[in-house]
């Protein structure tokens, strides 16, 4: 009786150890590409970055040197348009979900916001093309901004809701006890308390939008020249990376890495800030 049991127990222990090793291996295998992509972009990107990249215009095809000043400004303008349209919608919808969201309708909105965040960005680009480019009859910065706005909305909505819900209930009770109406409690007490989280959440959503390429390809299109007009095609960092990565010129490839590095640095820094801000408050709740 004893012998088979111990040998079986030994097998159980071996199996246990094997599975533990397997799961650690999985972690290593998954972290490897992250480290590779990050370090490669770091090395290539820092080597490729110089002042020219930030202040100069692209050189004509095949000529070395030049920079992406117009794309930096273009990405900024696209993000600004996207934020102007997307943020008010997202924030107010988020406030609704957090403040009045204990009903079936709100559950449907929450669900749809999640589904919307799963819609491929290229499809959002097609919709922006139909809604803006077709009626205007040409590609424009505005169309790109609309596409980015649609992409920002679900993230902003859900982040706003979550950040408001993180504010302790005693804050609201204090406001109501002082005789403030519900909405004033929300605007003057709850929102300021949640402001830090909401702001960084919004910045993160904007940073994510900055990394979008697919929805800009046939809305903002891209532009090799200086343009800040919102009814004209406009340059963006990501579309430049796409074009430059495919190009057969070494110097263009170098600049693609530089732009990729700028993007990743932006997004990572904001992710870190977001994580720091959201964990430092009300953790004990």
């Amino acid at each position: 009786m004893i012998t088979p049991r111990t040998s079986y127990d030994l097998w159980r222990k071996i199996k246990n150890a094997l599975m533990a090793v397997f799961s650690v291996l999985c972690v290593v295998v998954a972290i490897a590409p992250l480290v590779m992509i990050f370090s490669y972009t770091l090395v290539q990107g820092i080597g490729a970055l110089n002042l020219d990249f930030f202040i100069n215009m692209p050189k004509p095809v095949g000529e070395a040197g030049g920079g992406m000043a117009n794309a930096l400004v273009g990405t900024g303008i696209l993000l600004a348009i996207g934020a102007c349209i997307g943020l008010p919608i997202g924030i107010l919808a988020g406030v609704y979900l957090a403040e009045y969201g204990n009903n079936r309708f709100a559950a449907v909105v929450r669900f749809m916001a999640d589904v919307l965040s799963g819609v491929p960005s290229i499809v959002v680009g097609v919709v922006a093309y139909i809604l803006v480019v077709l009626p205007m009859n040409h590609f424009s910065a505005f169309a790109g901004g609309v596409a980015l706005a649609i992409l920002m909305i679900p993230t902003v909505t859900r982040t706003t809701e979550e950040m408001i819900r993180l504010v302790p209930h005693s804050y609201r009770e204090a406001g109501l006890a002082l005789g403030l109406p519900w909405w004033k409690t929300t605007v003057r007490i709850i929102l300021p308390a949640a402001l830090k989280g909401i702001t960084t959440g919004i910045l993160l959503a904007i940073a994510r939008a900055a990394g979008e390429t697919a929805p800009l390809l046939f809305t903002a299109l891209g532009n090799r020249f200086w343009s800040t007009a919102i009814d004209q095609p406009i340059a963006s960092l990501t579309v430049f990376i796409f074009d430059y990565a495919k190009a057969p010129f070494e110097d263009w490839n170098r600049q693609a890495w530089a732009a990729g590095f700028v993007l990743i640095a932006l997004i990572f820094v904001l992710s870190l800030i977001f994580r720091y801000v959201t964990r430092s408050r009300y953790v004990e709740r």
Partner: protein
């Protein structure tokens, strides 16, 4: 709740006039604020329907001309105005499945490590690292794919696979580097974070009493984990569907490494094309109305598929967490 609080004050008949007026105004403020925010919530909701409607209108010409055969034809000829989406659908399905096949076991392994094995001090930074993978823009994955992964596949992996497993049709043909295998591999890296983080949440949502019960009767860690996994099955299915939805719609990285040739081949080494890639490459250059319409129809199909996948996944994960949150 808001209205209740205000009206309770207003209905007290003996309250002084000033208080009653203030209470009334308070109600108006609440009314306006609630409905303003409600309006925007409705806006978010209607966005999904607006998108569907606009794409339906945009693809009408193509739907009317080709009907269902659009989904089964392999021809893609803008000059002759003949369009069929099969090669693109094939590319999307195959590359997504390769990605899922690689990413799923890895993600599960990581999720088990994070929720069952890792000490707390290790779990947080590791989770954060995995989430960083999700934050890298698609275009940077593509950049890395073109300059690092594709050359590696061309010079090392594909010749090796061809030599050892070349008798299978899957691994036949010249190694370009660019192709289905490259697309599948980069998709695996890209969907790994989402499957991992949701599976981890699912595993963590299973009450500790299950673990305590299993350990208490002398089960090993792995035996305990198996019980947890068995209970988490539906949640993990949801996580998988979410990952699949992400893979199906992934555009830039796939476009940069899949080879962009609309053909259906058995070999994973051969170049392909995906639905998202054809949109990325051809939409801006679509010259005729029918060409645009055919592309919009591809976008529409992609939209329907991803919405269904996401909806199913969210419902599964949602009902799963609800089951255990009580």
């Amino acid at each position: 709740m808001a209205g209740g609080e205000g009206s309770a004050v207003a209905s007290v008949p003996s309250a002084p006039l000033r208080t009653r007026v203030a209470a009334k105004r308070r109600n108006v403020g609440d009314f306006v604020f609630k409905n303003l925010t409600l309006l925007f919530a409705v806006l978010v909701l209607s966005l999904v329907f607006l998108m569907a409607y606009e794409m339906y209108l945009g693809s009408r010409p193509s739907i009317e001309k080709f009907g269902w055969s659009f989904l089964t034809r392999t021809i893609w000829d803008p000059v002759a105005e003949e369009y069929g989406a099969l090669p693109f659908m094939f590319g999307t399905v195959v590359s997504s499945l390769i990605g899922l096949l690689i990413a799923l076991p890895l993600s599960l392994g990581i999720a088990i490590f994070l929720s069952e094995l890792a000490p707390r001090w290790l779990e947080r930074p590791l989770s954060f690292l995995i989430e960083l993978l999700a934050a890298i823009p698609s275009i940077v994955y593509g950049l890395w794919g073109i300059f690092v992964m594709v050359p590696w596949l061309r010079t090392a992996v594909q010749p090796f696979l061809g030599k050892t497993l070349g008798f299978l049709p899957l691994f036949k043909g010249p190694s370009y580097g660019f192709g289905m295998l490259a697309a599948g591999l980069i998709l695996a890296i890209m969907i790994l974070p989402i499957i991992t983080s949701i599976s981890r949440d699912v595993l963590k949502s299973i009450p500790d009493i299950y673990r305590e019960a299993a350990l208490g009767i002398g089960a090993t860690r792995w035996e305990t984990t198996r019980i947890i996994l068995k209970n988490a099955r539906s949640g993990i299915l949801g996580a998988t569907l979410l990952g699949l939805g992400r893979a199906v719609g992934e555009t830039m990285a796939v476009t940069m490494v899949i080879g962009n040739r609309p053909e259906i081949a058995a070999s994973l080494f051969s170049p392909g094309y995906s639905m998202a890639s054809v949109l990325a490459n051809e939409f801006a250059e679509a010259t005729t109305a029918m060409y645009t319409s055919a592309l919009v129809e591809i976008a529409f199909v992609l939209f329907i598929v991803t919405v269904l996948l996401n909806a199913a996944a969210r419902l599964i994960v949602w009902s799963f967490t609800k089951r255990f949150s009580k």
